[in-house]
């Protein structure tokens, strides 16, 4: 199958757009690479080469000995698995030749990130951290203190994220608020061991997804993506601990290292 120059350029744009969406919504590097290549090949390129780096992707398509290369910057738009699923579905449909380049582009353009109801998320995160307090051996008082602290921290996190604040500032602020609320549990001696609530209430701020993605990227050969994600997750964890330490110093309650 021979492509005209315009067709090849269009194909490259469609493939890089799919890769960009995956990159921005937190897919692992192997998935970004494979899906972009599969869409390109399904639309008729002879070969697709791409380089995934932490803030951009570069892609080259080959057809009849001609190369078209393009680069896209990828800004982090938050982890969204629904977008990853949709791009994957479009990729599978293109491979079965149900869609041509124009359909793929139209469908990719139409995708809008789905978000769960924010109050439902707050409620579930509150109960999640409360469950962690149960795993740490907390009693009923610790359970409810953790629930309140985690829910308030989650509301703050959503508000700051909505206003596009820096993630490090966001996480430090949320950790500060959660620890301050649970410190009052310690001061007023809620239950047997209120320190457990201090440990459990900040677990909503663990950067679990970047950490798992980081290790699996490195395992599958994308060392520099893995390092970038690892450093990002570590910095987030450091800003959370600075938030916790700031709160403990201010309120004068220590729950972690003593």
């Amino acid at each position: 199958m021979s492509l005209s120059k315009e067709e090849q350029t269009e194909l490259t744009r469609v493939a890089v757009f799919a890769g960009q969406i995956l990159h921005q919504h937190g897919a692992e590097s192997r998935l970004i690479e494979q899906t972009t290549q599969r869409i390109g090949l399904a639309l008729g390129a002879d070969n697709i080469e791409l380089s995934v780096s932490p803030d951009a992707i570069v892609i080259t398509s080959l057809s009849d000995g001609h190369c078209v290369t393009t680069t896209r910057r990828c800004f982090d738009r938050g982890i969204n698995m629904q977008m990853v699923c949709e791009v994957q579905r479009i990729c599978v449909m293109a491979e079965k030749q149900l869609l041509d380049a124009r359909d793929v582009k139209k469908r990719l353009k139409r995708l809008t990130p789905f978000k769960h109801n924010r109050w439902l998320v707050v409620l579930m995160i509150g109960f999640s951290c409360a469950s962690f307090s149960h795993f740490f051996g907390g009693d009923r008082a610790a359970y409810w203190v953790t629930f309140v602290a985690a829910a308030v921290a989650m509301i703050l996190r959503q508000e700051l994220a909505h206003r596009h604040h820096n993630p490090f500032v966001n996480f430090a602020a949320a950790a500060f608020v959660a620890t301050t609320i649970t410190s009052f549990g310690v001061i007023f001696e809620a239950g047997e061991n209120p320190q457990i609530a201090m440990a459990a209430s900040v677990l909503l701020l663990v950067p679990g997804f970047p950490l798992i993605n980081s290790v699996s990227d490195m395992l599958k050969g994308h060392i520099n993506m893995g390092i970038a994600r690892w450093v990002f997750a570590t910095l987030l964890a450091i800003s959370v601990s600075i938030g916790i330490v700031a709160s403990m110093t201010l309120v004068g309650v220590s729950g972690w290292t003593s």
């Binding site: 899906t35 999640s128 469950s131 663990v206 798992i212 980081s214 599958k220 964890a237 601990s241």
Partner: protein
């Protein structure tokens, strides 16, 4: 025996909640949340069982996350959905967040109060435990694509 079963069920009950909660933060599609709940409950309770019989936490984590990787493989081929959608949310209850924060806080404390053996012990022990549990988790999840698929796409 009955008591162990009770503890196991209790563990499974408290594990599905964080799995679904964090899956919602990652915006997993609504009809896939049930799989995250099943995965979270299964993995955390089977790790509890393994640790009850004396398996160290890193190896227990590795075994259950490898099983979760294969279960995710089945689900992802059934629904044509990428594997991380199920698997990452399911192992979230096992992420060593508390160890990670303890290590970091002890580091900050060393800076403010000066070096002490007790603080350094906290940093090293918690930091290493975080590192090993996390590697075990990701390696276990990646096992199907490392051993069986070896570079070929799963869906």
């Amino acid at each position: 025996m009955i008591e162990l079963l009770y503890l196991l069920l209790q563990d499974a009950w408290f594990a599905w909640i964080p799995a679904v909660g964090f899956a919602m933060v990652f915006n997993v599609p609504s009809r896939m949340l049930i799989y995250c709940a099943i995965g979270g409950a299964l993995t955390h309770s089977s790790r509890f069982l393994l640790m009850h019989y004396g398996v160290p936490i890193e190896w227990a984590t590795f075994i259950v996350s490898a099983n979760m990787g294969f279960l995710g493989l089945y689900w992802s081929r059934k629904h044509l959905i990428p594997r991380p959608v199920f698997t990452v949310a399911s192992v979230i209850p096992m992420i060593p967040g508390s160890y990670a924060f303890t290590a970091m806080i002890a580091l900050v404390e060393i800076n403010t109060t000066g070096y002490s053996l007790a603080l350094m012990q906290l940093v090293m022990e918690n930091g290493l435990r975080t590192l090993f549990i996390l590697t075990a988790l990701s390696f276990g999840l990646a096992l199907p694509s490392i051993l069986i698929y070896r570079g070929r796409p799963i869906v």
